[in-house]
Symmetry: C2
Subunit: 609 residues, 2 copies
């Protein structure tokens, strides 16, 4: 497996560590071949080196474009050692063996990134380098391909240990890396070429798109356990947006994390308040910005007003996000827009949750979170400056769907530019605008069709994935009603037995409000209380809901009919945000006016699929 | 911009259309250079051709490994035309211009796929081909690189129009494609190499993944109108799974079509019955196989028993699919497993629908469908033999998610292998197994969390995208109840005014059943009837639902508690399908036994996200 190195070809643009390597090779009696600047550097260091053109006997011409594209070079690299015919051919044609190639490719990418013009980029496409790289890598059973200074040390150690030769194991590994480098290199060229064609308005239909990814880490499986293999990859030469600080995220965790983080990042940007979200199955169960709690809310969320008043903004935001629909948030994926502090970590500590993503963690917070789930709590650190590629590609059943990222930023402007109801823009308070933004950004990240209800900077009802708009309003509206009724005196007054767990108390309150027990469930439910509570009657609920007010609804597509507004009116809606564009817009607007609601048209659709 | 072609180099493994091209080039007085089998084929066709080794004066050696790696070849490709120094160099070194290269690369991928061993795969790494390809593509300002027979026609037309030369526009486009091909080729090698190293227990992390796409068509926009540009692409050298016969599909239409078609294809395979689905927002509103209708169903779906008895299987399947939730199916995307016939087209003609996908259409059906929506109805023809790549890639916020396609096929075996309730597998009827399969395949294509209810081969309630399992059961359960109550005598007896449209009748019945009118809505609703109907009371509904029986529920993940079963029991569920795996499996099974239900564990999770 070990073949001695008798002759090596060096051609590098990155000259770091070149001389020690050349010295070493010379000391091992390796005949050095080189070209241009590399040859000069070696010669200047006093190490003997032969110019490739001298070696091939073919004068350098065409500005050096064909220096190494010669049978004496490629024959020397590609000849099968020990093959009688090859050995005879090499002898006959005076082709000496070249056992090692050390090269870098011309820096095409940095040329492009420097803003160079078309011609100059083309000039920086390396031809000779990839050819030598590929010949050497193909023939790695005998030859060694070295493509980066970070491999020099290993090569020298290997040769030192193996009598001046390299092992097959090393040659195979280096060959694999060489082909990967070559693929990357031509991938970059192909991508750049595609962009150039597009710029020139050339026919798209004839160009190709090359996406080159580097595997970041393997996943145990994909969306389902039988979907193996599965992995996360990054775009070539780009980092991932998140760094894993703890735990082993799965496919769905990472989808949740991406959407959850984008949601809070945009909320932060739009409202200038700390924001948090609580995701389940790639839709938010809740989301909120840091707005102080009322005393009744404190009671409903099981925190004392005093403790609540001392919470940091991040903690307050997550507490609200988690309390939009705390039954659904069980086992959520959390996202926080700001550095996670101890307060926030202590709130999360009490909740059943799968993981978190945030731009940073205080040491105390990190310690608390790392201890969750027996050490398996997933902690991702987001790079807040990460900018993904502009166009996203997605393969579905042999079709690749390409689209510009949904990078629209929802702002106050969208809420105020076209208030279609009677009072116009002056009927919007700052708090209303904030809630309109919160609800709209939230539905942007909710599986379509979706509507979301917000109040006091938090989501109080998110309806995801419905096929009819009005069904979606009813679904989310029921959640708003449940959220409100968690503040009903009879709910706040429930007397739980000692030892009933937090999540069980949360669920028991929700089921008390919903009231649709099956017999078995009722027995189990009743067993949790010191005093079995009276039912909460429909009349009591309706009576309590009369105080509901100040709620905002946002929809990811227009309301086709007034029925959605009619239903929304039952849960305290005062503000309506929608793109507009239905043939029935006038009737829908009139309906809002009937109820004294304020409605804004944003022109922004945002289904998420 | 136009340069005449004086000399061309041909080296192809795919010899289709080679001879007509060679003849054409010869007729244009192009000097042909070639190697090996390509030269022989051309010579055998009586066309003059020079062997590369004769041309370079360098004898073929090393089994042909270095034939074209010669300054006379690469100098001829890379020389800058019109550059004084280059022209002089070429003259001095007797380097003739080579203006066009026509080549394919050695079939590395098919060698790997054929199960060849390591050595043979390595042998099939092309060295000379990529070098010529890259030299020609780099110098595309002057030279033309042709890499696929599907480009021959265009090259010939271009030369014909341009006095024997090619245009810069064509050369650039072809060069871009050439670099993409090269990137893909080395990407495949790098991937394969990585796998080999991994097999040997070597380090991963050295490999890259290269995906190369060809744009198929532009989209007006992506998921949202502001997401531009957007396009559909195919994998390089692969066709799309669908051909567009009519209309202009959008991003969401195509996502719907992919999922809708896969659903019916799998239903067809699993049940051997014609199948149809009705999609909205990437989830099925309904899906069914061809099972005859009862007379009461006929009344509920507005078809006479006589007409129904004559329906073709495809028509019957779509009629059922559309009637699972006809209010949601408004504006659906339809899929049919079999060739669409006139019967099916006539049913679709009456419905508001966006498009259809099927493996074929009779001429009569196509004519009817093409006339829908003022000619804009989208008609896609699916290639039933299409096989997509094994692993799908999806970019989300700078992360690329890779996973094996969800290609698990749900069969009878999954339903029968682990019946956990008392009666065991003998308590399953054929009809029950069929419905279990229908419901399970349907939830496989429903946005998670999802459960689906089926009866008589059709979905009667699909719950999509909920964050809590029991909420999902309740949501879909309400749909089952609505479906049943559409057969209530009071609903069937509703007296609509003349002129009330079909979809309005459908909606009016559903709203009658739901009963939660707002005052304005009630007025509008009542205006549709000859005789204003009595309310359908809760008691009447409950009474009618007592006859509900024989319903199947399938869930895309396990039921964590018995509550879901308790709720399912209210809508006639007799059969339960779920993966199993909850810590409460025993309690859930006991619950099924209490109700006399039959439950199967499939081990198959199938969330869809």
């Amino acid at each position: 497996d070990v073949f001695p190195i008798t002759r090596a070809l060096l051609s590098v643009s990155d000259k770091s560590s070149l001389i020690p390597l050349a010295e070493f090779l010379h000391s091992k009696k390796v005949h050095l071949l080189s070209t241009g600047g590399t040859a000069k550097a070696i010669r200047d260091a006093g190490i003997p080196v032969t110019d490739v053109s001298e070696y091939t006997g073919s004068a350098e011409c065409l500005d050096g474009r064909v220096k190494t594209l010669h049978p004496k070079i490629h024959g020397g690299l590609l000849g099968v050692r020990g093959n009688e015919k090859h050995e005879a051919d090499m002898k006959e044609h005076d082709i000496g063996k070249i056992d090692m190639t050390i090269l870098n490719l011309y820096p095409f990418e940095s040329t492009v990134n420097s803003g160079a013009g078309f011609e100059q980029c083309i000039e920086n496409i390396d031809i000779g380098g990839p050819s030598m790289l590929r010949s050497t890598a193909k023939n790695h059973a005998f030859t060694t391909i070295v493509t980066s200074p970070d491999q020099y040390q290993e090569v020298m150690e290997c040769m030192e240990k193996n009598g001046g030769g390299t092992t097959l194991e090393l040659r195979r590994r280096f060959a694999a890396r060489a082909f990967a480098l070559s693929a990357k290199y031509d991938g970059m060229i192909a991508n750049w070429f595609g962009e150039q064609l597009a710029k020139d308005g050339g026919e798209k239909g004839t160009s190709v798109v090359t996406r080159v990814y580097e595997p970041a880490f393997q996943l145990k499986y994909g969306c389902n356990p039988h979907q193996k293999p599965a992995a996360i990859l990054s775009s070539l030469n780009k980092k991932l947006p998140f760094q894993i600080l703890n735990g082993t995220p799965g496919y769905i965790n990472l989808l949740d994390a991406a959407n959850a983080y984008l949601l809070v990042k945009e909320l932060r940007q739009a409202t200038n308040l700390a924001a948090a979200s609580s995701f389940k199955h790639v839709s938010p169960a809740g989301a909120a910005v840091a707005v102080p709690l009322t005393d009744i809310e404190c009671a409903a969320y099981e925190i004392t007003p005093e403790a609540a008043s001392k919470l940091t903004p991040s903690a307050l935001a997550y507490l609200r996000a988690r309390n939009a629909d705390p039954m659904c948030s069980f086992g959520d994926y959390a996202a926080v827009s700001d550095v996670v502090d101890e307060d926030t970590a202590l709130i999360l500590k009490k909740e059943v949750s799968d993981g978190i993503v945030a731009p940073g963690y205080t040491p105390a917070a990190l310690e608390i979170l790392k201890a969750k789930k027996g050490g398996k709590f997933i902690i991702l650190e987001a790079n807040p400056d990460f900018v993904p590629d502009d166009v996203e590609y997605r393969e579905v059943y042999g079709m690749t769907f390409a689209q510009k990222r949904n990078d629209v930023i929802i702002t106050t402007e969208h809420m105020t530019k076209n208030v279609v109801t009677k009072g116009g823009v002056s009927s919007l308070t700052d708090a209303a605008i904030r809630d309109m933004i919160v609800a709209s950004i939230c539905v942007k990240y909710t599986q379509s069709n979706s509507v979301g209800f917000a109040k006091d900077g938090m989501m109080v009802g998110v309806g995801a994935g419905q096929q009819s708009r009005v069904d979606c309003v009813k679904l989310a509206g029921r959640k708003v009603k449940t959220w409100y009724l968690r503040q009903h005196p009879k709910v706040l007054g429930l007397k739980f037995k000692e030892g009933v767990k937090r999540q069980d108390r949360v669920n028991a309150r929700v089921r008390y409000i919903e009231g649709d027990f099956t017999p078995e469930e009722r027995t189990r439910w009743e067993a949790q209380f010191e005093v079995v509570p009276d039912a909460l009657s429909e009349e009591e609920k309706d009576e309590f809901m009369k105080q509901a007010t100040g709620v905002t609804i946002s929809s990811d597509a227009f309301f086709p009919f007034r029925d959605s507004i009619d239903h929304a009116s039952k849960v305290g809606v005062c503000y309506v945000v929608q793109p507009g564009g239905s043939v029935q817009d006038e009737q829908v607007t009139a309906c809002c006016d009937d109820y004294g609601m304020v409605m804004s048209f944003t022109d922004l659709l945002h289904p998420s699929l």
